[in-house]
């Protein structure tokens, strides 16, 4: 019926469960009825193609893509990595979008009421296409932690939001990247909604001396793995 490859299932030992009472917003927004099985067809195995129309080279440099009259303020960082599937194969020409708070922990968003300064030279949004080896690279400002109202004195650990497309609509992934050594990670209900400690570690970028540019910016490596082809019995 289709020449498209069937994908393996979402790995529920990796993804969080949908209802996680410690994260209050899940109480009325998590699904309670069982998901209905859906065989994969063209609807699931095709997906939008984002060519170079979608992205300019400036888009991946968040320290420059919204400059008005000066430089973005904060600690300059490089965030780079590979986009692969579960079989370890590169996913080239894939669109990755990122968004984040500024160095003070404030988003450019009308609903963000945190009393921290906006940076007129920093929007906190960027995007990039992966290259033929599945690699992407952003230059940005290290985001600040910010308070939220989930529980008393709740602070989100510093994070960068990632939106990722594979080649199939059902490979879609939205996630968050965290920074190594952050004491807020242990306290964060969103990070800890992923029950498995090893899976949680896949959300934490690694400090990378190779990506770090002397006299310029610290580098962090964050690889992203999307669901891949269904595992098949060994063929000789």
């Amino acid at each position: 019926m289709t020449s498209k490859r069937i994908l393996g299932p979402r790995d529920w030992s990796s993804h969080p469960r949908q209802a996680h009472p410690d994260y209050k917003s899940t109480l009325l927004r998590s699904q309670r009825k069982p998901l209905v099985p859906l065989p994969q067809s063209l609807s699931e195995l095709t997906g939008p193609v984002f060519g170079h129309f979608a992205v300019t080279s400036e888009d991946a440099d968040l320290t420059r893509n919204a400059v008005r009259d000066g430089e973005a303020i904060g600690e300059r960082i490089i965030v780079a990595g590979r986009l692969v599937d579960e079989a370890g194969r590169a996913i080239p020409n894939a669109l990755i979008e990122v968004w984040q708070a500024n160095a003070a922990g404030r988003y450019v968003h009308s609903q963000d009421q945190h009393e921290a300064p906006l940076d007129p030279n920093f929007l906190g949004a960027g995007r990039a296409l992966t290259d033929s080896a599945g690699r992407y690279r952003f230059t940005t400002i290290r985001p600040g932690a910010y308070p939220w109202r989930n529980h008393p004195n709740a602070w989100r650990p510093a994070h960068i939001h990632f939106s990722v497309f594979g080649t199939a609509f059902i490979q879609r992934l939205v996630t968050q990247m965290y920074f190594p050594g952050d004491p807020l990670l242990a306290l964060d209900p969103i990070f800890n909604a992923t029950a498995d400690a090893a899976a949680r570690q896949r959300l934490v970028a690694g400090y990378s001396t190779e990506l770090t540019e002397p006299e310029w910016a610290l580098g962090f490596e964050f690889d992203i793995v999307l669901r891949g082809p269904r595992a098949t019995p060994l063929e000789s």
């Binding site: 019926m1 299932p9 979402r10 790995d11 990796s14 993804h15 969080p16 996680h20 994260y23 899940t26 109480l27 009325l28 927004r29 998590s30 699904q31 309670r32 009825k33 998901l35 209905v36 099985p37 859906l38 065989p39 994969q40 067809s41 063209l42 609807s43 699931e44 095709t46 997906g47 939008p48 193609v49 979608a54 692969v84 599937d85 579960e86 079989a87 979008e97 990122v98 968004w99 988003y107 450019v108 968003h109 929007l123 906190g124 949004a125 995007r127 939001h161 939106s163 609509f169 879609r172 992934l173 939205v174 996630t175 968050q176 909604a193 992923t194 896949r202 959300l203 793995v225 999307l226």
Partner: protein
């Protein structure tokens, strides 16, 4: 072998990146997938996203992926990209302007594929939008007919009987007695 990167919530603050309007960062996709020049029947899909208490979800993101009017899924070279993105407003409302998808015989009744994201959803949820004026096709669709009949209507957008371009209404209930059918896919 590598293991899948866990999903995390889209959170409340995605709009400046994913659905920007007029701040210089051009969106990669939006509510308007098609116009009068696009082959096919121009339609609007309008809806609301509601939580388990029936309150509007004012910070949800809905993405759609659909076939062209002839039933084939768009290739990269097609002017019609088949992908749309809309955030909900203060009333929990969203809309898309697109063309009605056709359906290849092997792909069931005409439908639009949708993914719903929101603060409070740690994973996005997949659903499908079928059309109420496709009764014959819908009654033969293997997916629709596999769904518990009492919940089936949550997958069917209803044609609002108005003059002008067809408008289909589709409500997405994240939780509760009328919870929309979401797929394990």
């Amino acid at each position: 072998m590598s293991s899948q990167t866990p999903s995390q919530t889209v959170g409340p603050f995605f709009s400046h990146a994913l659905t920007p309007s007029g701040d210089g960062h051009a969106p990669i996709a939006g509510r308007q997938l098609a116009d009068e020049r696009t082959p096919g029947t121009l339609i609007r899909i309008e809806g609301r996203v509601l939580d388990g208490a029936g309150h509007p979800v004012t910070d949800a993101l809905v993405e759609i992926w659909q076939a062209r009017h002839d039933g084939a899924y768009p290739e990269g070279s097609d002017a019609f990209r088949g992908f749309g993105r809309a955030s909900t407003d203060a009333g929990g409302r969203f809309w898309f302007q697109t063309v009605k998808p056709g359906a290849l015989p092997e792909n069931g009744a005409p439908h639009v594929n949708a993914a719903v994201f929101a603060r409070g959803m740690l994973n996005h949820a997949f659903t499908r939008i079928y059309f109420s004026d496709e009764q014959a096709e819908n009654s033969r669709d293997p997916i629709l007919t596999s769904v518990d009949p009492t919940r089936r209507k949550s997958l069917v957008a209803s044609l609002r009987d108005l003059v002008g371009p067809p408008v289909y209404e589709f409500e997405i209930c994240l939780q509760g007695a009328h919870e929309t059918v979401f797929f394990d896919v």
